[in-house]
Structure formats: C-alpha cells, structure tokens
Amino acid sequence: MSQNTLDRFDPRRIRSAYRGATIEQKEALLGVALVLPSLLLVATVIVYPLFFNVYLSLHRVPLQGAPIWNAGANFQWLLSNGEFWSSLWLTISFTLIAAVLSTVGGLAVTLLFRRAFPGRRLVRGLVLLPYVMPIVAIAFAWRWMFNPIYGVVPFVLGNLGFTELAQLSLLKSSKTALWTISLFEGWRYFPFAFLLIFARAQAIPNDVYEAAKIDGASKFAQFKDITLPELKYIVLTVLLLQIIWNFNRFADVWLISQEFEVLSVFTYETAFTTFRLGQAAAISVVLFLFLVVFVLLYVGVLMED
C-alpha cells in the first residue's frame, strides 16, 4: 500500500474532509457507511467462497493440508461419469415437474379464493401450513405416511388393488421416487405460488368482470380473456423462481429420501460421504453455471414486460 492510499484512510483526514463536505457528499458517505456491513458480509461469505470454489474445483483437495493442482481432472471425471449425467437428467425432470405442480396448484387455489366465503382468512392461513411448517417435520410426516409397512398410503393403494405399488418403497424405488418426491415438493410449495398469484389477482379491478358480464361473457371466457392475461406475468415469475430454487434444493430431497440422487445430493455425498471435496466443488461449479443461465432467463422475462 502506498503512502498516498494510507493517507486517505487516516481518520483525521476523513474527519476534516467530512466537515468540509457538502450535504450531498455527507449523505453519500453515510449511505456507503450504512451499506458497508451488508456488503462486507456478502463479499466474505458469498462472493469470496464462490471464487474459492472454482479454485478448489481445479485441485485435489485433501481433508487436511494444501490443495494440489490437478488441472481439469475433476471436470474430466465429472463429464465422463455416468452417475453425473443421470443425476443431471433426474434434477431437470424433478425441477420441472415439481415447479409445474406447485404453480398449477397455486393458480387453481387462487381461482377458488377469488370468490368470497365466510372464514376465507382462516382457510387461507390453513392452506399456507404446508409451506410454513419446518421442512424436517413435514418430511418425516410424509416418510411415515409412505412407510411400506405401517404407512397409510401403501395401505390405501393396496386396498384399491394396486398391490404391486403398495409393496414398493414409494419414496425410494427408482420407479416411483421421481413422482412421489415431485408431488411432495409440489405440495410443499403450492402455497408459495398461491400467495404471490393471489396477491396479484386481488389487484384486478372488479369493473373489468362487470363489463364482461354485461357483454354476456361466460365464466370460462372471463377466465381465459381477463384473469389469465392479467396473471400471465406473475405465473411465469413464480414458475421461474420455483425452477431456480428446485434445481438447487437439498434439504427437502435429502430429508425425505437419501436415495434420490439429484445434483445437490450428488454434491453432498461426494463431499461429505466420500470426502472428494475437489470433485464436489466441480459439481457445484456446474450448478452455479446453471443458476447463471436461469438468472439471465429471469432477467430476460422481467425486461420483456
């Protein structure tokens, strides 16, 4: 650090500069000072680790001691690994199915709630519970419901004649897990979609519907020509947010079935079960690249409207 820059951080100089500053300059200085703690925290706990992760992904990383440069070996391992590719496809399928389920569910419940009925606020609160309850509680409730021996779901399936399904471990078997776990995620997050879509739907002026009714528009026509266009933007936003978050979702999936190997679970196991930290870092670099693409998409959608 040169003498000149040291001088700039001299408290006496700052104080005298502060006294001589205009109101705008003082306000700007205060603005920077107030945002600085947030910025420093994000820089040290998010931005720096992000770069450090890229560094780790290019090294063999022992649990103790310094990382050893191994060029692109981790990425080579990753791209030639069948496990990675199947995990990627599973992640994409799971992400899309769960996002569509929760968004469609949220939209459907919104339409239901457009109508006034006694106790609507209470019912709204109850419908939000799947999303409000701690994930660990909800995940174990589902695991118990799906327990192959004592659970209520296999019992009902068996009684309905689906004896083959009833004998599977529905949350773990590779035949069914994609669907049951997507269903779980859809159930967990439809209240999120509902809240956002509902808030937007409440803002549609009622006169529009009145006018449509006077013109003789049917209920379905009103939905198709008024409600849907008004909600298009928020529905798209909710869908994209769900996709972004589902793609990196870990706790939900891990807690309900350790055998559902989406990329987040693959990362976790690579890092903390087999302790190949460098290779795990490489997987999270790939996850990060996906996030960047999603964010660009999101910004694109936002900019369009």
Binding site: V35, L50, R115, P130, N147, A199
Partner: protein, 312 residues
C-alpha cells in the same frame, strides 16, 4: 433457503390492504347472490378437497404423536385412535433428558435463531435505509448483487464454506452457523426493510431535518419507531430460516450437544428403531414456535399496514 413464507405474508398483506375496497366489491357482487345451488356445492367441494390435501400430512403427524405404539405398529394405519388410548408418552419421552436431549437441541436452536435474527435486523436496517433514502454511486449495482444472492442455494457454497470453517477452527461451533445464516437471510431482509422505509413519506423525515435533527438522529427518532412492523417482520423471518436450516447445520456441527433441532430429529430417527411416535412428537414441538410466529405475524402485518398511518 432464501424462500420464506413470512416475506410473502408481507407482500400479501400489503396487497390486501390496498385492495380491501375491491374485496368488498367481490363479496357483494360476486358472492352467493347469483351462484346457483350446484355452483355452490361444487365450490365447497373443491374447497374441502383443497383443505384435506393441505392438512392431511399434518393431521397424520398430530395423530401419530398421541397414539400408543401398539396402535401405530399394527394394521390398519392409525387415523382415528380410540379416545381412551390417546397418550402423552411420546412427549414425555422426548422431553426426558435421560432418554433424548430434545431440550438441548431446542435451546441450541433458540440461541442460534435469536442471535442470527438480532444481527440480521441491525445489519439490514442500516443497509435497507441506505438503499431507500441515500444516494451514492454504485447503489444500484449493490442492489443487483443482493438480488442475485437471493436466488442462491446453500449447496452451491457448501464445499468452500466447509473448508473455510475448518481453516478458521470453527467446526462444531454455533457461531459458524450464525454467520452463515445471517448472510443467507440478508438479501430478503434488506429488500423488506428497504421497501418499508420507502413507504414512509419523505416529508416526515424532512420535517425532522428542518427542525434541526441530524440525519442519524432522524433515523433513530423518527424513521425506526415508524418502522417497527417491518423490523419485527424481518426479525421473525430470519428466526424462521435459522430455525429450519438443515444443510449447513449437518456439516458444521459434530457433537450431539451442539445439534440444532432439524439435525437433532434426524439423529433421533437414526438412533432409535420404530420411534415414529417420538419423531412426530418432536416434529410437532419443533413446528409450534414457527406456526405461532406465522399466526402472529399475519395479523401484525395487516394491522401495521392499515392502522399505521403509512401508505404501503
């Protein structure tokens, strides 16, 4: 881990306050007056299905936590345990420190959550005010960075953060979790408070400035007291995130004495066989604070926005 119900309550409450008049219109004009009996039956049927689907797993949780073992592990599955058989034995078991350190986990979670949300409130109040009221170069860039971080999942940073925590010798400490959670709740906290401050009319602050208060005095004597609903919301939001977090807790913590509730319950499920009654009791006990916060906040937010003299 950035998604959180409470932030949405905030949004929803704002919206609903703005459209109350519209809602009355809906109630008057589109309510029961013109609906045929069949439409009404269909509507209430759909509503009932929605409620059953939403609440069934939670109902199962409640029933299982009070059903005796011989009911749980004998077919058919217990949905309506005989009233006489209802028992508190699972609750007694989890609250008995001899058999299970649930109280310890609970205390750890309370400590982590309160420290995290206290810090989040302080840091986000500063930053949010800076976003809302003060003008300087680079402000919009900082805002964009914060928004980007909001979309992050913890799994993206789990490897480097683990290495850093090991390097700093912070493995198996609750403070490693507090710092991590603080940063992950920061984006939404900044936005919630920034929006809240923007909702307070500039004129109120300008009047205080003209009366001779400095900017900092104005913030503490005028703006912050007016912003209590927003500050409480941010505190509770951060509390909930810290209370629920699983990924980092499962990696940073090693000894059971330091476990928070989510990994504590997983630990319980791995240590005991056929402990579903206890697991459901522990799950429910873990949920109670969160549901209480949620109920309180929903009411508080709507009141704060409608009676606060502040246009949202």
């Amino acid at each position: 881990m950035s998604t959180n119900p409470l932030s949405l309550v905030f949004v929803a409450a704002k919206e609903s306050a703005a459209t109350t008049a519209d809602r009355f219109g809906v109630a008057l004009r589109r309510g029961s007056i013109e609906a045929t009996i069949w439409e009404r039956i269909g509507f209430y049927l759909a509503l009932a299905i929605t409620l059953v689907v939403s609440l069934f797993p939670i109902y199962v949780m409640v029933v299982t936590s009070v059903a005796p073992d011989f009911e749980l592990y004998n077919p058919p599955p217990t949905l309506l345990p005989p009233l006489g058989a209802i028992t508190a034995e699972h609750y007694v078991a989890i609250f008995d420190p001899e058999t299970f350190p649930f109280v310890q986990y609970f205390t750890n979670s309370v400590v982590v959550s309160i420290v995290t949300s206290g810090l989040a409130v302080v840091v986000a109040t500063f930053g949010g005010y800076s976003f809302a009221r003060l003008d300087y170069r680079g402000r919009s860039a900082v805002k964009k960075l914060v928004l980007f971080v909001y979309l992050f999942g913890g799994i993206l940073l789990v490897v480097p953060l683990f290495k850093i925590v090991v390097f700093l010798g912070m493995v198996d400490t609750l403070s490693s979790l507090m710092v991590t959670y603080l940063v992950f709740v920061l984006p939404l906290s900044l936005y919630m408070l920034g929006n809240y401050f923007e909702g307070i009319p500039k004129e109120i602050e300008e009047a205080a400035l003209i009366d001779g208060y400095s900017r900092v005095e104005t913030i503490f004597r005028v703006t912050l007291p007016l912003s209590m609903p927003g500050i409480v919301a941010v505190f509770l939001f951060a509390f909930v995130v810290a209370w629920n977090e699983f990924l980092f807790a499962s990696i940073f913590l090693k000894s059971t004495a330091n476990f928070t509730l989510p990994i504590g319950i997983v630990h319980l499920s791995l240590t005991f066989r056929q402990a579903w009654g206890q697991i459901m009791a522990a799950s429910l006990a873990t949920s109670v604070p969160i549901v209480v916060i949620f109920l309180y906040l929903e009411k508080y937010m709507i009141e704060g926005l409608t009676h606060g003299g502040v246009e949202g």
